[in-house]
């Protein structure tokens, strides 16, 4: 063992300094390395101090703050689902009717969302970008309210995904995240698999 190897070994062991037989043998015949070892020993001694541990009050405060943060997070996620469930059926019905209507009337077309579309407009179904004829849209909205009792679940999933997907594509993931609230990893995973937006997310 040479001096460089020994110093490297000793420095790696600081905090649990110990000597192998080979190191002891080298130290016995090398004053420079012995000095290095003694310096590390006193450094190790000097570093052995502990900050005051976390007090009960500090931990109680931490728990309370963490609890609040987690509750807010869960409430936001819950709120999103409530909104989605509440407005999803009517929104999906509106969009389906718009879609069907456009198939029948070639002049009525869906176009991708643009910067000018707001979430509120999307949810109300009156965005100028989604329905090109506002009179028609108004009629369709009325019809959809009557038609929401049929195939609600299928329509919810399908068209909410389209709307959220379009929104993310138009404004980017951050905007999508704002729209969705802070989702946990499970929710994000479900969203990714359902929406096929891996390239965006």
């Amino acid at each position: 063992m040479n001096c460089e190897q020994l110093k490297k070994e000793l420095s790696h062991k600081l905090g649990m300094l110990s000597l192998t037989p080979a190191a002891e043998e080298h130290l016995g015949s090398c004053a420079g390395c012995m000095q290095y070892y003694e310096e590390l020993s006193s450094l190790e001694e000097g570093l052995r101090f502990q900050p005051n541990p976390l007090t009960k009050e500090e931990f109680a405060h931490l728990q309370e703050s963490l609890e609040n943060k987690i509750s807010r997070f869960q409430n936001r996620a819950f709120l999103f689902y409530r909104v989605a469930v509440r407005y999803g059926a009517s929104l999906a019905a509106v969009l389906l009717l718009v879609f069907v209507s456009m198939l029948g009337h070639n002049s009525q077309k869906l176009r991708p969302l643009s910067e000018g579309d707001s979430v509120a407009a999307l949810i109300s179904g009156t965005s100028a970008g989604i329905i090109t004829d506002s009179t028609e849209a108004s009629n369709l909205t009325t019809e959809s309210a009557e038609g929401t009792d049929t195939n609600d679940e299928t329509l919810d999933d399908q068209y909410l995904d389209v709307i959220i997907g379009n929104y993310i594509e138009a404004y980017g993931f951050n905007a999508g995240e704002m729209l969705l609230g802070e989702l946990n990893s499970d929710e994000l995973r479900i969203l990714k698999s359902r929406m096929k937006t891996k390239d965006i997310l």
Partner: protein, 178 residues
């Protein structure tokens, strides 16, 4: 025993059990506090970083792999948040000199040698954040180099080099002081 408890709590927390997650917080609070406090030298900042760490863990626990070590995973989150904090605030100092006089910072092993302790703290102050992190995880938390490498997403030899450099800086600083 603690490790077994941690595995069990982790499995339950992963399944959505809030009380199990609270137990994980209890089991790891001292380790996380020691790391964040030593790194920042600021009790308030350390508590905030702990809170951020546990909150991030709560959000991500669904994606945590059971075969991984929960403490290491938490260390990784805390280390990243702490390094970001230091970068963001440019708080590269370990413990500000003024803080060494605060009664909240206890150094029982250095009683009667206040200047030496300040000299050592000052030396710690001057370490770059990554060296400081490696030094804390190794010296104070006694983690193996391989685990530190995993926490920091670096290879083991890089971590060893960081540690060696930190040790030599502190040793030289101590010699200058004497």
């Amino acid at each position: 025993m603690e490790a077994e408890d941690e595995q069990e709590f982790m499995a339950r927390a992963k399944a959505g059990d809030r009380s199990a997650f609270d137990q994980l917080v209890r089991l790891n609070k001292d380790k996380m506090f020691a790391l964040t406090y030593r790194m920042t030298g600021d009790r308030e900042a350390a508590l905030d970083l702990m809170q951020d760490t546990f909150f991030a863990a709560f959000k991500e626990i669904g994606g945590f792999r059971r075969e991984a070590n929960f403490s290491s995973w938490l260390y990784r989150i805390a280390a990243n948040k702490t390094l970001n904090y230091l970068r963001r605030k440019k708080l590269i100092s370990y413990i500000p000199l003024a803080a060494a006089n605060e009664p909240s910072y206890d150094m029982p092993d250095l009683a009667g040698s206040g200047e030496l302790s300040r000299a050592i703290l000052s030396g710690m102050n001057s370490l770059p954040p990554k060296q400081k992190l490696v030094f804390n995880l190794r010296f104070y938390e006694q983690l193996p180099f391989a685990e530190i490498a995993a926490i920091m997403n670096k290879n083991e030899s890089t971590v060893k080099t960081h540690y060696q450099k930190a040790v030599n800086k502190l040793r030289e600083m101590l010699q200058d002081y004497k």
